[in-house]
């Protein structure tokens, strides 16, 4: 067979491919499918990005996710709210059940601190957390926790305490380091 004949024969063979056609009626709904996808994209684009992020559910390649690929909004909002609640309760529990090196739990420190004035509860809890983050050597052993008072007045705030300042950690103006004198720190624009 010459090259020319061979080439013609190949063209005949390849032309058979033109007879491979999808089943009758296949194209009747093809364009509807395209338009549905376009409409879905357009409506998705109209939703703000942050909301799209929250409304998009886990999509698996096996298609086990809901048909639309989206979970209902309330499911994600509830899950987010529940997770936040668990994190807050867990964090509070952790803070209250820590034990200091002398075996005193934060709870008892908190009770001691808050025995005088109920308004000092939150500041005492902060003090406990601060004490745990102190560097070695200036740790909670040398700190006797006393109530910290925070008073707000207009745009200024005043913090007063008789807690000793660990030496070398920081120095407040007018406060002696390592002593146990009362000190006050003022924030804001109020005149001295």
């Amino acid at each position: 067979m010459t090259d020319d004949e061979s080439s013609k024969r190949l063209e005949q063979l390849l032309r058979l491919k033109r007879h491979e056609t999808p089943p009758p009626g296949y194209f009747n709904e093809f364009s509807d499918g395209v338009l549905d996808r376009i409409r879905a994209l357009e409506s998705e684009r109209a939703v703000p990005r942050w909301r799209r992020w929250f409304s998009r559910g886990p999509q698996s390649s096996e298609g086990s996710a809901p048909e639309s690929g989206l979970w209902p909004m309330w499911v994600w909002n509830s899950a987010l709210g529940f997770s936040t609640l668990v994190a807050m309760v867990g964090g509070l529990y952790w803070a209250l059940h820590q034990t200091d090196p002398e075996g005193k739990s934060s709870e008892s420190l908190l009770q001691t601190a808050s025995s005088g004035n109920p308004s000092t509860v939150s500041s005492a809890a902060s003090t406990v957390l601060l004490a745990r983050s102190m560097p070695e050597g200036v740790g909670p052993r040398s700190v006797q926790f006393r109530p910290v008072t925070v008073s707000m007045s207009g745009s200024s705030a005043e913090i007063s305490s008789t807690n000793p300042l660990p030496s070398g950690l920081f120095q407040l103006p007018g406060a002696s380091s390592g002593g146990s004198e009362a000190y006050r720190v003022r924030f804001g624009n109020s005149p001295r």
């Binding site: 067979m1 061979s6 080439s7 024969r9 190949l10 063209e11 005949q12 063979l13 390849l14 032309r15 058979l16 491919k17 033109r18 007879h19 491979e20 056609t21 999808p22 089943p23 194209f27 093809f30 364009s31 499918g33 395209v34 338009l35 996808r37 376009i38 409409r39 994209l41």
Partner: protein, 209 residues
């Protein structure tokens, strides 16, 4: 391909002047956001685009998804279509690129054929009579075997070679149109066709006699 056959197939594939002007109007309306106009464009080109995707993949379901992807991508990019080339060339280019990306992702997988039935009456097609009538009386089985061998051979071609064979030998596009679609010069198209034909002739030697 002989000139008469080529012109017949091309006439079926490339829009004529009247059709082209209709396409331009529809494209303008679609660019202004008219989805009904775009629906008409989809209907006008769906068979050709599906055919391209099918012959590139030899897989009916993949071809369906790829053809739909092509039209969705084209809609998203429609505003950027300036009309430098014809809409038909532009959408073909999107379809070819969509198919090539798909094939690249699937390169390491064993190709799986999902072929459409042969919608063929050999008695009405002299080419087919020549191909199968003198081989065996079991014409249907013979045709199915030929179809499978043909598709396997096409899938063995590189993606570049497969593109030109699909566009030229199966879809009947002329060299210069293929060059525009693929963004290469017509000489490259001819050269790719030549090498693709050589390989196919080798793989289909049983059917070349």
């Amino acid at each position: 391909m002989d000139p008469i056959a080529e012109s017949t197939v091309s006439a079926r594939t490339i829009p004529n002047a009247e059709e082209a002007s209709e396409v331009v109007q529809r494209v303008r309306r679609a660019q202004a956001g008219d989805l009904a106009a775009y629906d008409q464009l989809v209907q006008q080109f769906q068979e050709r685009i599906y055919g391209l995707c099918y012959h590139m993949t030899s897989h009916h379901e993949d071809a369906h998804d790829l053809a739909q992807d092509t039209f969705v991508k084209a809609w998203q990019a429609l505003k950027s279509f300036k009309g430098d080339s014809s809409f038909y060339t532009w959408i073909y280019r999107i379809a070819v690129n969509t198919c090539l990306n798909h094939l690249k992702l699937r390169r390491n997988r064993t190709p799986h054929l999902s072929l459409n039935d042969l919608d063929v009456q050999p008695e009405n097609d002299p080419d087919l009579v020549a191909l199968v009538s003198d081989k065996t009386p079991r014409r249907e089985a013979n045709l199915a075997e030929l179809q499978r061998r043909l598709n396997e051979a096409i899938l063995k071609l590189s993606e570049d070679h497969r593109s030109v064979v699909t566009l030229h030998d199966i879809q009947g596009l002329p060299h210069d149109q293929i060059a525009k679609i693929l963004g290469v010069n017509p000489g490259t198209v001819r050269s790719r066709l030549f090498y693709a034909h050589q390989q196919l002739q080798g793989w289909l030697a049983d059917w070349m006699r």
